[in-house]
Symmetry: C5
Subunit: 350 residues, 5 copies
Amino acid sequence: RSRVTDVSSGSPVFVVMNFDQEGNVTSFEKKKTELFQELSLQARDLRFQHSTSLIARNNCIILRMESLKAIVTPHSLLVLDFRGLGLEHWLVLELAPQLASQSHSLPFEFRALDAILQHKVNTLRARLNVVEPAMLDTLESLVDPKILSADRSKLHVLLQNSKSLSELETDIKVFKETLLKILDEDEIIEELCLTKWTDPRVFEESSLGIDHAEEMELLLDNYYMQAEELGNKTRELKGLIDDSESVIFINLDSHRNVMMRLSLQLSMGSFSLSLFGLIGVAFGMNLESSFEEDARIFWLVTGFMFLGSGMIWRRLLSFLGRHLEPSVAPLIPQVWKRNLKASDMKTGVR
Amino acid sequence: RSRVTDVSSGSPVFVVMNFDQEGNVTSFEKKKTELFQELSLQARDLRFQHSTSLIARNNCIILRMESLKAIVTPHSLLVLDFRGLGLEHWLVLELAPQLASQSHSLPFEFRALDAILQHKVNTLRARLNVVEPAMLDTLESLVDPKILSADRSKLHVLLQNSKSLSELETDIKVFKETLLKILDEDEIIEELCLTKWTDPRVFEESSLGIDHAEEMELLLDNYYMQAEELGNKTRELKGLIDDSESVIFINLDSHRNVMMRLSLQLSMGSFSLSLFGLIGVAFGMNLESSFEEDARIFWLVTGFMFLGSGMIWRRLLSFLGRHLEPSVAPLIPQVWKRNLKASDMKTGVR
Amino acid sequence: RSRVTDVSSGSPVFVVMNFDQEGNVTSFEKKKTELFQELSLQARDLRFQHSTSLIARNNCIILRMESLKAIVTPHSLLVLDFRGLGLEHWLVLELAPQLASQSHSLPFEFRALDAILQHKVNTLRARLNVVEPAMLDTLESLVDPKILSADRSKLHVLLQNSKSLSELETDIKVFKETLLKILDEDEIIEELCLTKWTDPRVFEESSLGIDHAEEMELLLDNYYMQAEELGNKTRELKGLIDDSESVIFINLDSHRNVMMRLSLQLSMGSFSLSLFGLIGVAFGMNLESSFEEDARIFWLVTGFMFLGSGMIWRRLLSFLGRHLEPSVAPLIPQVWKRNLKASDMKTGVR
Amino acid sequence: RSRVTDVSSGSPVFVVMNFDQEGNVTSFEKKKTELFQELSLQARDLRFQHSTSLIARNNCIILRMESLKAIVTPHSLLVLDFRGLGLEHWLVLELAPQLASQSHSLPFEFRALDAILQHKVNTLRARLNVVEPAMLDTLESLVDPKILSADRSKLHVLLQNSKSLSELETDIKVFKETLLKILDEDEIIEELCLTKWTDPRVFEESSLGIDHAEEMELLLDNYYMQAEELGNKTRELKGLIDDSESVIFINLDSHRNVMMRLSLQLSMGSFSLSLFGLIGVAFGMNLESSFEEDARIFWLVTGFMFLGSGMIWRRLLSFLGRHLEPSVAPLIPQVWKRNLKASDMKTGVR
Amino acid sequence: RSRVTDVSSGSPVFVVMNFDQEGNVTSFEKKKTELFQELSLQARDLRFQHSTSLIARNNCIILRMESLKAIVTPHSLLVLDFRGLGLEHWLVLELAPQLASQSHSLPFEFRALDAILQHKVNTLRARLNVVEPAMLDTLESLVDPKILSADRSKLHVLLQNSKSLSELETDIKVFKETLLKILDEDEIIEELCLTKWTDPRVFEESSLGIDHAEEMELLLDNYYMQAEELGNKTRELKGLIDDSESVIFINLDSHRNVMMRLSLQLSMGSFSLSLFGLIGVAFGMNLESSFEEDARIFWLVTGFMFLGSGMIWRRLLSFLGRHLEPSVAPLIPQVWKRNLKASDMKTGVR
């Protein structure tokens, strides 16, 4: 039975890796049509249209976590199209032993779901662990108060990390929403407990006093909260980037102001020298000034030029000092202290 | 039966394109009044006041997706006022075959709704696919660390894309809300399953073991999630614009600081030259200095002028270097590392 | 029967304009106490304390939309205190005919409510239509890349429009919340259908197959969605202002950087001239240099001064060019392209 | 009966002001333990741990609105610890007459609650009325386009007002949440109607046809909406501050750009003078140039120096003019107009 | 009975501190497996995977508040792994007496939970009390209008505090969500009342007229609201940081503008001196100007040079003054006043 948008004629082939309860791993190819007929699923169930999904269909759990597509049946876990995704290592060395571990009293689907969700959260956490230190290093060097101009290659790194962080944030959000959608509806949780419906004997036996649905809720809630913690971390990191950028701007602005004051002080010096240099220029003209013959005049004028420049400069500098310090300042009380009092009083008479 | 705000006298005419189950396409004109009487609808149902709407009325699904206005009946799809909207190509070449495809076991209204929602999501995605690369290209060239001043034509492109992105965001939001409103109310979903109510025989026959309402919910949920994914993308893009703007500002500020330091260094040089040039000006005065006859004095004073300028300049430059590097720096521990420890300790004694 | 906070002794007088079903309009004055006794209302019901409210009380709908205060009874619409609000034109020329129109099968209160809500939405839309083009014009001229400094009168206009937009946003929000509160409670919707309760005969007659409550919900929902669309527009406009401000800042900063580079280049020229001018000053001193008699020396030194200045300037300029272009640039891969690859790989082995 | 965290041995004393139904006011001291035993309350009920609370306990309403702590019984209102809070004026001159007013048909607890909530809202509004004009004045003077540099004392005032506004926003939010918590649970509203439970006779008598719970809901909802209006105002003010800050920055940047262009133009002038002054310096050297004897040469060279400077300056200025106006400008269509068309077309063929 | 992810073979050992109802404190080591078998718990219940959790399992309350892990049974409180966390002081000196206090009529689990939640809230408040004054001090000194450039060590402190504040915000949020999850589900609250289920006799005896579940809800709600108040404080602080940063930027920009105007005024002076100095240079050339012999000419030219410079400078300064004051200013009405009127009129004729 196929569904609405299906127009592909030749049925595609899945490369399947099969994990059973005893820890046996087999790998084979199977036509998509055969696969869903075998599992009594419908075509649309194996379309995996969304990057993250987790649904129960006809005693199967069908899930996709980014590149990992899997079907959990009461007795086996099928991983589809696993090649070329860098998953082989995890599948063979970690997933297989985890599923085969006989120390668990809960049925197979719990072990499978647990392993896959754990892998997903680990993947997300690994991405955060790559981005976070790179980000902190970059910010650390960018907010360095000694730098006069931001290192542009660092800015590029910052931008890349910021983008990665946004993508990670989205993926965490999508993962959380996928779990939340299930946690919000008790029926779906019930459906996820495959053994309860298919294998009453195992169910009876395995679950003395254990409510499968409650166990499933705990399992999902656990990963939901882990994702929430990752989400909180990314949010904090984003906030840190914003704060750091402000500090970078204040730093750059401060440097500029300091340089500008120095520049202004030099301009004042140059102006003083030009002003008094004009006297020298005047006496350098080929015009008769009647002072030409007196040697003392030379020293007098020269001294006047240098001392005058110096004095004017000093006056200009002290003018600058006074100009930049607002005279109203002592009249302004401190913001916070006044405000604290105000907030004490604010509930008072009106 | 007309309704409250209807004051138009002459009933308007719809240009209708009719798709039936067998894939036949006919096109005709019909008076609005005739149309709604034929379908037992009310006048207000065909007013299409909102840019995006999807409602079930009297065994019809009436929907509008921006320019596309359509009525789905159990046996046919009517597209209204389709001319001049650039929809003809899609209507004839894509919609018709899709509706006629007999490979679906689900009734006609599912096929019609699926085709239209798919078209809508494709339209939204196409708009994102136009904006996104243009945006990335523009940002890429704007955050280039080599640029001293932002290319203003690029800024215009950025602003336009940013505006398009906002509009797209709104449209996605409206589309999502339209679907969510239906998904939140099971009754509306039931109403959308037209065949279930009108054609029990077809219903019985087509849906062995299939719950129409659940199929409808899956169909709508699928498009809801696709819209959500588009929405996540636009949100990420918006974040990227913000981050890039910060980087642009830091870049421009950094360039300015570098230029300012160069400028300040040159000013220091000019000042030194002016200061020692004043000696030359002094000796250039037409005043008797008693050194006139000694040739060595010329070289002495000239050398003093040049060397003095150079030395003063060097001292000024090293002063600048020290001035810009805050002496307190070595006392400041690194922000993050100290903080990491602090966060380790923060749960400690208090 | 009066209520808690009522301490006014002399009962105030309302100026009332009365519209009945036949389209007759009468205008009279009535004491507040008389009015609410006549309608069996309580004093507090006519206090109109909130700028926007819509409630059903004892078979009356009492509503206030900013300055418009009205009471809808099953047979008439009373508009209170309508003078001096600029509403007369609308009341007489638009409202009266609309209410009198006999083409509607739905009872009077629907027509009245529809007319008033439509007027409210039109008022909100008109305000947006005033603010939007003014805003776009102002932004258009402010983001003009040619401007070196923002026109300050434009900034004032921008600020005013921004304030108007905020106020409009609040009003739309309040209007939406007022409607939402009703839409969320089915009982209130039922209460708003006055005729259903007061005039069973008219009710029977007018509503063959029409569910009054559903009609009322559709009517309110329609205006809710129109308000939502206006709200989306204002939100987009706000976003546009933010984006434009960023562009304005980048523009101003870019201009500054360009001017700064020009200024720096000129400073380099001046410095070169000063440096080599010092030679001229040296030779201008009244000191014996032993070159005085040779005419070629004059040209040699003069040429050296000019050529030397020029050469030093060129070297400084090329130094500036190299200094501003970071040498690390070629090593930095493009942000987005690298990132795209990264996102492809990010789901891989870890 | 005491509760968990109570470890204080000596029972504290409350200073109580008692208002009864007849308008009598008495003031006395009472031990905390006596007070809660008399009212059959528990110790924890009189702990007033949160700044804003409103609860019903054993036929008493216990409320705290910042500094005002009160207990409403069916027959009296007790205000606790009223001294030193600036409340005396309000208690004696406003609250007492309001409570004694016999014009109300609703029981005492309504009058008491109404008076206290009204006082609370008035207090919040008074705070807004203090902050708002101060804020507007400050912003008005800060966005003045004539100012070259922001008045720093104004910035302090802005910061203080901004802080007060944040605190006010929090207080309004807390007040709204306190009311909302009650409005969301019908049982609590019922409990607040003390007379209904304690005094059936008065209840019967006073409330012909009046539903006490509904009256209570209306009363609380009224103050909720007033608080909401205040909250909207503060939000608008916050937005205005943000917008104004952007305008201040654009203003300051614009001034800087204008000054920078002037500075650049002057630098160009100075450069021109230096360049051609070098000729003068050259001829001022004590070197033989063979032109010394010709008087016309003096005028020629002098004229060349001045005219040359002027001409070079003019060329530099026109170069600057061209440089700052981007040549690509005419090629850029206007953002909005092009965009409008684009949005018209965006629903077209794809 | 162990659960899914448990693969550790050797069971770990807990260091346990046991508080009983009589105030006796014992400390011992116990294997994890023994511990959960003794309490009839499951292995996963003692895994403490999340930083903050509070659950009821099989008549035990298992909670973790950051570093504090505890199990509350109806008769004792077990604190696990308490060493090296700085908790000893609190455990011995505060917790023990608090639990032993016999003045409470409510059962043991209430006392234990109250003590632990109180400790948690106190810890959060202590962190805020460390960050807040440090933050205010730093901001106070950074917004000082006299500073020309921000103190960079202060910026580091600001960044650290900002980071601490973000972390605190997250912890408060997590704590609030943990409580809210319980408050939202009445069943969990019931489960937390251990005595009610385990010790009916004590229950009967202790709780004459007291509803345990309601008491538990009050207890949790109390701490929820305290956390909410802390959350409001952190939010206000964050807002204050943002506002302060804006003020810092305006301050720095203002300083820069003031310095730039001074610099421009000096440039004008220098330009004037250069311009008229050129006359002096001209007359200093070794060229015949025919004025050489007249002594008055010297004074005339010298005077012209100085007076001319001065006059040109004055003209330039007044030009600058006019240039920076936009002539359109008087035409612009004040923003707010016009706007106030506009808002009065905005509901008028349209």
